[in-house]
C-alpha cells in the first residue's frame, strides 16, 4: 500500500508573520487633478472617521503567497485522492470547466448591465435551466439559490405560498420528513415556518408506508424526500408515497443531493415530485471550494411555476431577457440571479457529457458503489443493517457496530485511521438511524485500482482493530496534525473564534 505523509508546516497564523510597514499590494498613486489624500479630512466628519487603523497583518506579497501555499498543502481535495464522503458526491472536477470560468467574459460582468450587453450570460443561464428541467422532469428551473439548503428554503417557501394562495397556509403547517433525511430538510422546513413530523425508516431501508399514512392529514403541507435515500436505496414505492401525499393535498419536495445515481434513468418529476432542488457542486461536478460556493437550482412542475423566485431568464426568439413578472413569486432568497461562476461550469459539464455521458456516470457510480459494498462486506466487523442483498445506488451505509463492540474501535476511529492512508473519510454517524455508520460514495470518477486499494486499507484497519487497536485509537498519525481536541475547541473557557478574541482571553488570564 502506498504510504501517505501530509505536509507538516507548523505554519504560524497570518498575524504572527510579517513586519511593520510591509505591504503585499499597492494601489496606483492618485492621478493629477484629483484631490490629494486629505479627502478624508475634507469629506468625512470626524465622528465617522476611523480613529485607529485595523490591526491587520503587514506582509509582503511573497510572504502572503508562501503562507497560503503552505496552508494549501495542509489540505486534501479530490485532486489529491479518494474522497468517498457519502451524500456529497465528491467526483472529479474537470479542469476545463475551471478554465472556462476563469474568463473576463465571466468575471467582469455586472448583473445590472443592460440585457443586450450580457446576452452570453443570459443564454447560458437559459440553456442550463432548460437542460436541468429536462434532466429532472420539471417544467421550469430557477438558478437563483446559492446552495442546496437555500434551494430547500426557496422550495419550502413556495409550498407555503402555494397553500397560502388556496387559503390554507395556517391549516397546512406540517412538513413530513423521513428520520433518515439530511439535516438541512428539517432545518429548512422549520425556517419556512413548518412543524416537522418525522416518519421512521422501515427494515427495508425505505420510508414506512403505514407510518406515512398515519402522519399525513389535512394539516400536511408536504413531504420532503431524497430518492435514492440516504441509505443509497431507491424508494421503490415512490408512486404510492406520492399518491398518499397528493390525495391529502400535500406537495412533494425532492432533495436532489443523490440525483447522481439516477441521471438518465429516472426523473423526480416523473416520480410525482412537485419541486426539486439540485446540487450542482455534487451531481454536476463543480468544485466545492472547501465548503462552497455551490449552487442549488430549483425546478418545479407547472402549477408551481408562478411561485418561483424572480427574475427568470426568458427567450423571445431573438434575445434573452430577465422576467420579474412572476404572479405569486416568493420574491428572492439571495441577491441577483445565481452564482454564475458555478453555473457556467455545470453548463460545460453537461455539454461534455451529453445524455449518454450522464447516464453512463450514473451507471458507473452505482456499479462502483455496489462493487465496493460487496467487497467491504467481507471485512470482519462491518455490516449493512438496511437493505442487505438489494442493489444500492450511488452510496451505501456500512455499520461497524460489531467492530465497536468487539474491539472498541468506533466509526470515528475507523474514519481517522483512513486518513493515514491518504483517503478522505466517509461521512460518519449519518444517517442517524444507523449505528456506527460509515456512509460511502465512491462516485463514477474513481479508477478500479483506487477502489481495490480502499478495500485493502479497510481490511488492514479491521485487522489492526482486532490485533493492535491502539494504532487505530490514536489515529491519525500521518496527517499534518494528530487528533484535534474538538471538545476544547467549543468549550466556553477555551473558545477562540478570532485572533482578537484569543489575544483578549490571554490578557485576561
Amino acid at each position: 500500500m502506498k504510504d501517505f505523509r501530509q505536509a507538516r508546516w507548523s505554519e504560524p497564523t497570518v498575524f504572527e508573520i510579517g513586519a511593520p510597514d510591509r505591504r503585499g499590494h499597492v494601489l496606483p498613486a492618485l492621478e493629477k487633478g484629483l484631490r490629494s489624500r486629505s479627502a478624508v479630512q475634507d469629506c468625512i466628519p470626524e465622528s465617522l472617521r476611523r480613529r485607529e487603523a485595523p490591526r491587520l497583518p503587514e506582509l509582503s506579497e511573497v510572504e502572503v503567497v508562501r503562507h497560503f501555499m503552505r496552508l494549501s498543502q495542509l489540505n486534501f481535495g479530490v485532486d489529491d485522492g479518494f474522497y468517498p464522503l457519502g451524500s456529497c458526491t465528491m467526483k472529479y472536477n474537470p479542469k476545463m470547466n475551471d478554465a472556462i470560468a476563469h474568463s473576463d467574459k465571466v468575471h467582469w460582468i455586472h448583473p445590472y448591465q443592460p440585457e443586450e450587453t450580457m446576452q452570453g450570460t443570459l443564454e447560458i443561464m437559459y440553456k442550463l435551466a432548460s437542460w436541468l428541467s429536462e434532466i429532472t422532469g420539471t417544467s421550469r428551473v430557477s438558478l437563483q439559490p446559492a446552495a442546496g439548503a437555500q434551494g430547500e428554503l426557496a422550495g419550502t417557501l413556495m409550498i407555503r405560498a402555494y397553500h397560502g394562495l388556496n387559503g390554507e397556509s395556517s391549516r397546512r403547517d406540517e412538513m413530513i420528513i423521513p428520520d433518515s433525511a439530511h439535516g438541512t430538510n428539517p432545518a429548512s422546513a422549520s425556517m419556512a415556518g413548518f412543524k416537522v413530523i418525522f416518519v421512521p425508516t422501515g427494515e427495508d431501508g425505505c420510508i414506512e408506508i403505514e407510518a406515512l399514512k398515519e402522519a399525513v392529514s389535512s394539516r400536511t403541507a408536504g413531504l420532503m424526500l431524497t430518492n435514492p435515500n440516504t441509505l443509497g436505496i431507491f424508494e421503490e414505492r415512490i408512486i404510492e408515497v406520492a399518491k398518499i401525499v397528493h390525495e391529502e393535498g400535500g406537495l412533494l419536495y425532492y432533495d436532489g443531493a443523490n440525483l447522481n445515481a439516477i441521471l438518465g434513468k429516472a426523473r423526480p418529476g416523473d416520480m410525482g415530485f412537485d419541486i426539486v432542488h439540485l446540487n450542482l457542486h455534487k451531481t454536476f461536478s463543480t468544485p466545492h471550494g472547501g465548503g462552497g460556493p455551490g449552487a442549488g437550482p430549483i425546478g418545479v412542475k407547472d402549477p408551481l411555476e408562478d411561485f418561483l423566485p424572480v427574475p427568470l431568464v426568458e427567450f423571445d426568439g431573438r434575445s434573452y431577457f430577465l422576467n420579474y413578472e412572476v404572479p405569486h413569486t416568493i420574491g428572492k432568497v439571495r441577491a441577483f440571479y445565481g452564482s454564475f461562476e458555478v453555473l457556467v461550469r455545470a453548463f460545460a459539464y453537461i455539454l461534455t457529457m451529453g445524455a449518454e455521458g450522464l447516464e453512463k456516470a450514473a451507471e458507473i457510480a452505482v456499479l462502483n458503489a455496489n462493487y465496493l459494498e460487496h467487497e467491504l462486506l467481507k471485512i470482519r466487523g462491518f455490516d449493512i443493517p438496511y437493505g442487505k442483498g438489494r442493489p444500492k445506488k450511488h452510496e451505501f451505509v456500512l455499520s461497524c457496530s460489531r467492530l465497536e463492540s468487539e474491539t472498541g474501535i468506533s466509526a470515528r476511529n475507523v474514519a481517522k485511521r483512513l486518513l493515514d492512508y491518504g483517503v478522505h473519510a466517509p461521512t460518519i454517524y449519518f444517517p442517524p438511524t444507523v449505528k456506527e455508520a460509515l456512509m460511502i460514495e465512491p462516485t463514477e470518477t474513481e479508477p478500479l485500482d483506487e477502489l481495490e486499494r480502499f478495500v485493502k486499507i479497510l481490511n488492514s484497519v479491521s485487522d489492526e482493530a482486532y490485533a493492535d487497536p491502539r494504532t487505530v485509537l490514536e489515529a491519525p498519525h500521518n496527517t499534518s496534525v494528530g487528533p484535534v481536541d474538538e471538545v476544547k475547541a467549543s468549550h466556553p473557557k477555551s473558545l477562540r473564534l478570532s485572533w482578537r478574541m484569543h489575544k483578549k482571553r490571554l490578557q485576561k488570564l
Binding site: I124, E341, A355
Partner: protein
Amino acid sequence: MASRYIPNDTEEVRKRLMRATGIETVRDLFSDIPSEIRLRNPLDIPGPLSELEVRRETEKILGKNQTVKELTSFLGAGIWPHHVPAAVDAVSSRGEFLTSYTPYQPEISQGILQALFEYQSMICELLEMDVANCSMYDWASSLGEAARMAARITQRNQFLVPHYISPERMTVLRAYAEAAGIEVIEIDQTLKDGQLDLEDLKEKTSKNTAGVYIENPSYLGFLIDSPDAVSEIVHDADGLFIVGVDPTSLGILRPPGDYGADIVIGEGQPLGNYMNAGGPLLGIFACRDEASIMRQMPGRIVGMTTTQDGKDRAFCMVLQTREQHIRRHRATSNICTNEALCALRAGVYMALLGPGGFEELGETILSKTYHAIRKLSEIEGIRAPFFEACHFEEFTVNFDQTSKSVQEVNRELLECGILGGRSLDHEFPELGQTSLYCVTELHTSEEIGKLQNSIKKILED
C-alpha cells in the same frame, strides 16, 4: 467523450466489476426502479462534446457579452468592480483548496480551517467585532438571518430597517423574515440629506423591537451620521443594533464595533472576488463576544484549539450544536454549504492589503467619488449627489432639471461605450429621474472625464 472522466468505463473493467458483484448487466442494479417511471428515451440535451468543442461553443456564447473592461461602467448598487490582485487567483486555484469539501475531518483539512479562521480574524479587525462566522451566501441573506437571529435572542418580532436599502436586500429580508413571523418596518429618511428621522425611529421602537438595522455607507452611497444615536435608541429599548457595511470603506470609516453594533453584516465580494454577473458572493456575518448572542449565530464557525496531546496548535469547526446536521429542525439556520472559497480569497486580499492598503483603498475611492461628483455637478441641470450628505463610492445623480430621462441618458451613454448608473425610478420614484453612480479605485480620471463630456453632449442635443 464522457469516459475521460469515468475511468472504469471500459469493457474489461466493467465486466470485472460486474463479475465481482455477481450481476449480469448494469441494468440489474436499476431493477428496483418501477417500470412506469423508468426513463424510456434518452434525455433531450445536447452533447457529448470533446473538450475542444465545449470550449469553442461556450466561448462563442460568452463572446456575446460586453464586459465592464470593454465598456466603461459606473454600475454598483450591491456588487462592485474592484481590482483583484493576481496572488488571490493563484491561491484559490490550488486544487487542495478548490476541490475539498467542508472540513468535517479537521486533521486532514488544517489548511482551509486555518485560512477560514484567519478570514474570520481579519474581518473582525476591520469591523472591530470579536466573532465572525466563516461566511454566509451574500449580504442579503446575511440580513435575513440577522433579523431572525435578533428575533430569537430578544423573543420579539419587529425588525426596523431604513427606507433606502437595496431592493434586492429588502426582498430577501422579507422572504426570510415573514416565514418566521417577523414584521419588517421601515424607518423614514429625509429627502434632503437621507438621514434617519430619529423621531420616527423612537416612535417605532418599542418592547416589540427585536432589532434596528442601518447601513454605512447606505445603499445610495451616503453616510448615516448618527450611528451613536441610533445605537442608544435601540439599546434603550433592549433591542439589538445591526449594521451593514461595505468592507472597502473600513480603512477610513469608523467601524461598527466602535458605535455599539451587536451584529455586523455586509458584502465581502469587493474583497478579492469578481462580480461574475451576480455571484458567488460572500455574506459577512459578525457579532459580539457574548455567549447568548454567539450561540444564536447562523453558519459555520472555525475555532482555534490544540491537538489532543496539547502539543500542536490546530483548528476545527466549533459550536456545531447550533447547526442543521446536529440540531436538525431546531438549528439556528439551515445553511450547510457556504462560500468558503470566496472567504479564502477575501482572506488573501486582506492579508495583501494590510492596514496601509485599506487606508489607501478607502482614500482612493473617496477621492475619486468626490472627483466624479464635482465633474458631474459642473453639468448644467444635474444635481449630484441628490442627498446633501457625505458619500463613499456611490452617489445619486438627478436629471430632473434636464431635458432627458435617466433611461434616455443611459441609452445614449451606451452608444458611447459607457454603462451609466443604475436607474432608481422604479425603486424610489420619489427621487425623480435619479440614477446611482459607482466609482472605485478602478476608475481613471480620464474615464470620469469621458463620462462628463458624454453626458454634457447628450443633454445638449
